[in-house]
Symmetry: C2
Subunit: 581 residues, 2 copies
């Protein structure tokens, strides 16, 4: 491509609302253009990157035996009503009425439509397994779209859906997809982790997220440097402490802690480690009568170490809390604790609550917690002596760095990531809701076992940039760059030699199958180099009169700070060796 | 591709609502699947065709210097309000409100968004000309979607937009696109015509439609077999008759025509040619006062030969009718003619009307028309003698076969076509509405001159089928076929020789760059052949035990009725010669 026939449009300044590097750099490099909140035009430079992502994903999906189709962007609501998601999804689902006032939605994913397709097309076990995928425009009406393509409203997703005869076969399809995803992310040239994720009702290790590692990532990723354990924060298990509980050494005492309503403040006041304090979280579940009306509520007290955070997903899986819970109201708290939040604890309750102790709390001795009296905490608290041994002990906290790895092979570390892919066994959730069955060998109808597999096609370039940029701009991995090589002639309009050499090299590289751009815009060297460093083309060849006198071009990789001289005659093979590297 | 890794799903019967061949065949061949009214999933087999259309369009657009980008499907209404189309487009424009009750639309085209982009990006004449295109999902909420992909609501369109410094440059951009379109449609391998179309306010020859010729086409195309003149019916000019008006030979007479209210009935009753009758069409235009309120109306009488039809586009360009017109009400008709429709004419008026005579009517003598009295017509009517010479004579009719060609080189013929492309000079309609300017050499802001260029990507396969099918199914041109070649082994599961030969041939063809499918499904020959004839793969190679004994495969083109024996060893080169043909 010649720049004069392309569209290069860079900006000195990023717009004020661009908060993260990828957003700023994609705007400045002329890759995207904002049309509305979370809605972007993919400009020619950005579209080239997106097309490269698509091409790699498509190749590997095909290789893995998935078959491409394309489902409608605008979908009749009836399918979504059938699955129940029309109501459940809330305002994130963009709803439309057509001229006849019939309801439609703009697809955020396509489980319903693909399940409808499967129930019509898949009649026999002989047609299984099946995997359909599409690369298509999606829309999620995010409450707060931001970070450019990272959390947009309109985006492109590759979504694949597998159909199998039973759960074992579904797991095999899932593993096949997880392997394809590894090939895809390897080919992108990004540093990433496949981390175990919560798989909801299905259970087991049937969900993984593919996270591009970046300090600015929204997600915390838990991994073990000494093994291949990796999970997202929701999923990572905090093991029960190996050491047994220490003996009680301190007396139980009510200690004044005026105005100190957080564990951190109390620990500081008392001069004890934060890890010896215990915080109280009060939840409530509604109690329904046979007619389904709310008849009352049940109050739960969760005890966590002062330096630990509650893990909502883990809590939501406990018996009794797995049908939904909420934080208790001040009325409920007052009724059971006789005290306002900030000084709550498991002792001196007005009315019994259901107590859940985190595994870590269950082995503590001599701990500090609220006294259920404003401005007082209890110190020297000990299980069995001061209150009954907890009957419910569970993992209800987020892991922290240094926790033992669940695979027993070391301790956990935490880093930040950006979720760009997700593989998931769905089970029969949609096939049951929509009655999608096939006939087994015995001629008996069985529900299809499904899996779903997503890749955020337009989020991926943003994630790649968060991981690969510097103060000058983007640094694309070769596989994702809008152009792999840029040829920059200096003074092309003044020097016939430079022009000839540049065009000859350009034609040579093109003929050699290199994705090359010739910058024939006639910009001054400084502006030209700044543009391509901002845009992030990984390989640059500079042609100048001075270099030509020595029979040389100058090569510089985007990550390098100085150029290398390359004999003009050997430029193609030099570059090919660089590209193969 | 192996069929076992693809998705082949054919139907014996087409659904009842499939009215045209392309719709029936695409449904039966498993290319599309209906999700809702005018909304289809592109199934794997159909998507392959669409991708081939896209690839050819993309290559030729790039070759012509257009640059690809991708604009949002969901667009903020504010841009459409700026251009005025938010109101003007009516219910065809699909409207949405997001969670914040802000208005959006689903793009039917993207003039507004691309004009907004241009007004931000194009600052100087040095950046011109520019042409941006996209291949993206569109939606038009058709009142009556039908014919499958031919008139769907959701569809894929390639839309390109050119920006130029003045009208001459815009015309050059337009010609460049028209040339690219010719290359595109040539490459598709379809019989088509580029026909002149009405270019609205711009005037001149600045709009062409690309019509795929098919007996079932919705559009009438006018062309001259002896020249390259071609236009759509709206545009094709009916020349003034060359022969002068004949002398009056008959007396004017009021003739009883009881119950005969159409020209055809009157001609039959009187035993005269239909072409000697004149029909009256009564239009009205509102007369406004200075405040823009309707103060009254003006009534127009259009006279057309009995065998001719009014051309609404031509009428809408006449001075006085060019701001909009309507058919007259019965009250208006009664007030001016004193008679009900069916017997109206230019004689014996109660109140004067503005008379417009078609060019053909203006040279008639001894004609028949309504008497403005129920059950009577006037015969032997002659201009000058019986009523004044017409002051407004214009081309207001559709041409008919046999009319003189406007280029003077023969007579016109009419055939049917399906519009699949349109090139159009827009002028400054959008750039003025949205204030999209650039600075000229003198530093003065000028409005951008625009052009727009569409190709119905998903309609194209349907049009190709309307032109190319038989009772057995689709007959794809090579360039559009989902697979160019199908290898059909007979008894692959029973014969190791057949299996080996089929797989070897398949690998050979793949390596030779042939887009081949190996049907390894194990279907019986009859069902297998019927599937591929229905799907329309142009080249078929059959491998059987019997043939192998003679060292031969059987080749048959989809248009042929008998197979040719091909030496197994030479199959690749044989096929390559067929594909090159």
């Amino acid at each position: 491509m010649k720049a004069s026939r392309f569209f290069v449009s860079t900006l000195k300044e990023a717009p004020a609302d661009a908060e993260v590097a990828s957003h700023r750099l994609m705007m400045r490099a002329g890759m995207i253009k904002k049309l509305g909140a979370g809605i972007y035009t993919y400009m020619p430079m950005g579209l080239r990157v997106i097309r490269k992502v698509e091409a790699i994903v498509r190749e590997e999906m095909n290789r893995a035996g998935a078959v491409e189709l394309s489902m409608p962007v605008v979908q009749p609501a009836e399918f979504w009503q059938e699955s129940g998601r029309f109501e459940k999804m809330g305002p994130e689902l963009l709803r439309i009425q057509d001229r006849h006032e019939r309801n439609y939605i703009v697809q955020p994913t396509s489980e319903e439509v693909v399940t409808d397709l499967a129930r019509q097309e898949i009649r026999s076990y002989k047609q299984l397994p099946r995997n359909f995928y599409q690369i298509q425009t999606k829309f999620r009406d995010e409450r707060r779209p931001r970070f450019g393509l990272m959390r947009g409203r309109e985006f492109t997703m590759k979504d694949a859906y597998s159909f199998d005869r039973d759960l074992d076969a579904a797991k095999a399809s899932y593993q096949n997809m997880a392997q394809a995803y590894r090939r895809i992310f390897d080919r992108f040239g990004l540093t990433y982790r496949a981390v175990a994720a919560d798989s909801g009702a299905i259970g087991g290790d049937l969900s993984e997220e593919f996270q591009v590692i970046a300090a600015t990532g929204e997600d915390a990723i838990v991994y073990c440097p000494d093994s291949d354990y990796a999970a997202n924060m929701e999923k990572a298990e905090a093991l029960a402490p190996a050491a047994p509980r220490g003996a009680a050494t301190k007396p139980l005492a009510k200690t004044p802690t005026p105005g100190k309503s957080t564990c951190a403040d109390v620990a500081e006041l008392l001069g004890v480690p934060l890890a010896t304090t215990v915080k109280s979280l009060v939840l409530a579940t509604d109690v329904l009568d046979d007619a389904g009306n709310i008849r009352g509520s049940k109050v739960w007290l969760l005890l966590l170490r002062g330096d630990h955070d509650m893990n909502e997903i883990k809590v939501s899986k406990l018996a009794g809390l797995d049908q939904g819970f909420r934080f208790a109201t001040t009325t409920e708290i007052d009724e059971h604790f006789g005290c306002k939040p900030g000084y709550l604890g498991p002792l001196n309750l007005k009315k019994p609550v259901t107590l859940v102790a985190d595994r870590e709390v269950a082995v503590m001795s001599d701990w500090t917690t609220g006294a259920n009296e404003v401005d007082f905490h209890m110190t020297g608290v000990n299980w069995a002596r001061d209150l009954p041994e907890p009957t419910i002990v569970a993992d209800i906290r987020n892991v922290v760095a240094g926790d033992a790895s669940p695979d027993g092979k070391g301790v956990l570390a935490i880093e930040r990531g950006i979720e760009v892919g997700h593989v998931f066994v769905l089970g029969t959730k949609y096939s049951k809701a929509m009655n999608a069955t096939f006939l087994d060998e015995g001629g008996k109808p069985q529900f299809l076992e499904m899996g779903c597999y997503g890749i955020g096609i337009t989020r991926l370039p943003a994630a790649a940039i968060e991981q690969n940029h510097d103060e000058r701009g983007i640094i694309w991995p070769d596989a994702l760059a809008p152009f792999t090589v840029v040829v920059c002639p200096i003074g092309m309009d003044r020097s016939a030699e430079v022009k000839l050499a540049a065009e000859t090299l350009y034609e040579q590289l093109l003929a050699g199958g290199v994705d090359v751009l010739l910058d024939d815009r006639g910009e001054r060297p400084g502006a030209m180099f700044a543009d391509w460093e901002l845009i992030g083309v990984p390989h640059r060849l500079v042609i100048s009169d001075r270099g030509l006198k020595e029979g040389q071009f100058e090569y510089q990789h985007r990550r390098e700070t100085a150029a290398t001289k390359v004999p003009a005659a050997g430029a193609l093979s030099f570059l090919q060796s660089k590209l193969a590297a």
